[in-house]
Amino acid sequence: MSSDMSSSGHKPDGSAKEKAPPVSQPKFWNDPKKRSLLFQVLLLSVLGFVFYTIIDNTLTNLEQRGITTGFDFLTREAGFGIAMSLIDYTEASSYGMTFIVGLLNTILIAVMGIIAATILGFILGVARLSDNWLVAKFSALYIEIFRNIPLLLQIFFWYYAVLRTLPQPRQSIEFLGSFINNRGFIFPAPVPEEGFGLVTVGFFAAIAASWLIARWAKKRQELTGQQFPVALTTIGLVIGVPLVLFLFSGMPLGLDHPELKGFNFKGGITVIPELIALWLALSIYTAAFIAETVRAGILAVSHGQTEAATALGMSKAKTLRLIVIPQALRVVIPPLTSQYLNLTKNSSLATAIGYPDLVNVFAGTTLNQTGQAIEVISMTMAVYLALSLMTSFFMNWYNARIQLSER
């Protein structure tokens, strides 16, 4: 019935040395390895040629315009003022300083925006899934309106249609010693007096104590099963200790009240309207996206998880804290990080209303004054590029960690 195959019970390692294989050398364009090598060499040379041409043209063009390339301009005197600076800056400072001032202002608006957008976004995202029809619909309405309107338009709206139409400084809206007018929001500056150091020390001591208590409580729970209200204690300590110290040491905090002198205010802290408009628009716009992210994260935790926790007898709060939130966070954190990155990149729209961020100050005024287009644009792009590379490294690290713990 079957063919006469001789070797039954093949020897596992039996290696039959036989005649040489009929290998013919393939023509080199039919060999995939050589083919891809050739293609890559070709690609590199085309790229090299393109870059060479670009650089050559650029150098010729710059020479004709009398612009010397290089980063020497960074040490030259800038000679222009900047509306807002977190560090000492005068017209006599260098162009290099304009880069730092702009960078710090970008970081400031990014941090402010991230905090506000996160809070607003989480509230809206949870509200979107609320049992309450009105709350859910309100959140949906907010999301659909604000994420479908260009951010730049929203910035313009807050700046030109709202903040710039506020009254002159002389007719400022006043409340609690603060003023709002078309030059911004001016509030009393806190001035620490003698003894305030104690309050600061108390604050940090409270944080340290809370951390120790949390560790102790965890250990005790593991050993004995007894639980301890860590969250409440922490809040009580961190707020209570500095407050008590503050009151007992005779409230050592003075206020530098702003006063109207001529056409403007002296003293206090002024938040310029550009910052407010940008902050409002960025937070409101990004919050809509964060809300969607949060919603998706919560929905990603399957209903079965909640049911299983309830069946195990967990309370609603415990289910949220121990089952739903840890799983939802895994889903939420990667897109949330990229929203933060988006917000930071979007903060460059500042330039349209003149908030002195990196793009406005450095890629704007400094570039116009020096003509060093290549250097300035590259430095600016490098900042954002570094930020986004750092973000993606974080994300890769985070994803790797999550995948590891899911095994």
Binding site: F138, P150, L152, S348, V359, L367, A373, T380, L387
Partner: protein, 366 residues
């Protein structure tokens, strides 16, 4: 023991009807009731005056600001400048050309979106290949007896659409090449594509536009000058192609490995495999992603005002500076916002609908 057949009873009265609905959805427990009251109060105290201002108290007809006396919104302002909002400074006698280009665009998009129209593939191909040429001839002129209209006259919604459509159409092929390159087994090809993609995705569009307007002229030999619009388009296309590449990569990765293997086993070559088997399936999966990047791009086109092009937002901004109409900026922002919103919202709804269809419908087995 014998069981009686049980009758079907209506639910208790507090579960049905308006009362039941209110109980269940608005006043389900004290926290919910308070939330309902707070949100409700806020909505009423905000929406009622807003609606009153926008519709009831508004002035709609007239030809100067004197017509706006009732204290509501002054839509007269918008009505008077509507042509500029739509066409920028495009000569009035030639507006029909824009209209035809727009009608063809909308017509073919409706054809593609409707579920049961035949020959979608051909329409899509025409829209991607032939339409840009036709639209360019129509808008720019200088051939077929059409007078030339310089690009610095283009503006308003027309320019916004030109930027967005060119950005998406031109970035599609570039994005496909980049995505394929990123998946390539050749290390140099792969790293070139990854670098390109990550650089453009890492920087804000505004710096790209700055680069296109300031640095691009330096890259080319003396005397070769570029149109400002063209420079913006180059910047937008490069920027967009990086995002497009990532969408396409997502689509390619969603195709099961077995499809590649089956194509290989049948003896199809790389390009045959990609064009006949992988791309047609992947494109279907990519459409929601492409629509989403289009929405993002559409909103981002407003940034071109920073480099001095007059898109619809820039027209509104310029109108606000007009001394004859000072003080009506809210109206113009609202109007422009509405234009953007209608486009973006309908597109996002469409993409959500597609995603749902892909997830529930008989998608990719195999």
């Amino acid at each position: 023991m014998k069981y009686e057949l049980q009758p079907t009873l209506p639910p208790p009265a507090n579960m049905i009807g308006v009362i039941g609905w209110l109980r269940k959805n608005l006043f389900n427990g004290p926290v919910n009731s308070i939330a309902t009251i707070v949100v409700g109060y806020f909505l009423i105290s905000f929406l009622v005056p807003t609606i009153q201002w926008i519709f009831i108290d508004a002035d709609w007809v007239g030809d100067s600001r004197d017509a706006c006396t009732s204290g509501g919104a002054c839509w007269v302002f918008i009505a008077n400048r509507l042509d500029q909002f739509l066409y920028g400074f495009y000569p009035e006698a030639e507006h029909w050309r824009v209209q035809i280009a727009f009608i063809i665009l909308i017509g073919s998009i409706i054809w593609l979106v409707l579920p049961k129209t035949p020959k979608k593939g051909i329409v899509a191909a025409l829209l991607l290949v032939a339409y840009p040429v036709v639209a360019f001839i129509l808008l720019y002129g200088n051939s077929f007896g059409l007078p030339q209209v310089e690009t610095h006259l283009w503006g308003g919604l027309t320019l916004t659409l030109v930027l967005a459509v060119v950005g998406i159409v031109a970035s599609l092929p570039l994005g496909i090449v980049l995505a394929l390159g990123r998946q390539s087994e050749m290390p140099i090809v792969r790293s070139v594509c990854v670098t390109f993609i990550e650089i453009w995705r890492g920087v804000p569009l505004i710096t790209v536009l700055f680069m296109a307007s300031v640095m691009l002229p330096l890259f080319f030999p003396e005397g070769m000058s570029f149109d400002k619009l063209l420079r913006a388009l180059i910047g937008i296309t490069l920027f967009q192609s990086a995002y497009m590449a990532e969408v396409i990569r997502g689509g390619l990765q969603a195709i099961p490995k077995g499809q590649y293997e089956a194509a290989d086993a049948l003896g199809l070559g790389y390009w045959q495999k990609m064009i006949l088997i992988i791309m047609p399936q992947a494109l279907k999966l990519m459409i929601p992603g492409i629509v989403n990047t289009f929405i993002a791009l559409f909103k981002d086109t407003s940034l071109v005002l920073i480099i001095g092009l007059f898109d619809v937002l820039a027209i509104g901004q310029a109108a606000n500076q007009d001394p004859k109409w000072i003080g009506y900026s809210t109206e113009s922002y609202l109007f422009v916002a509405l234009l953007f919103w209608v486009f973006c919202f309908s597109m996002s709804r469409y993409s959500q609908h597609l995603e749902k269809a892909l997830n529930t419908g008989h998608g990719n087995r195999a």
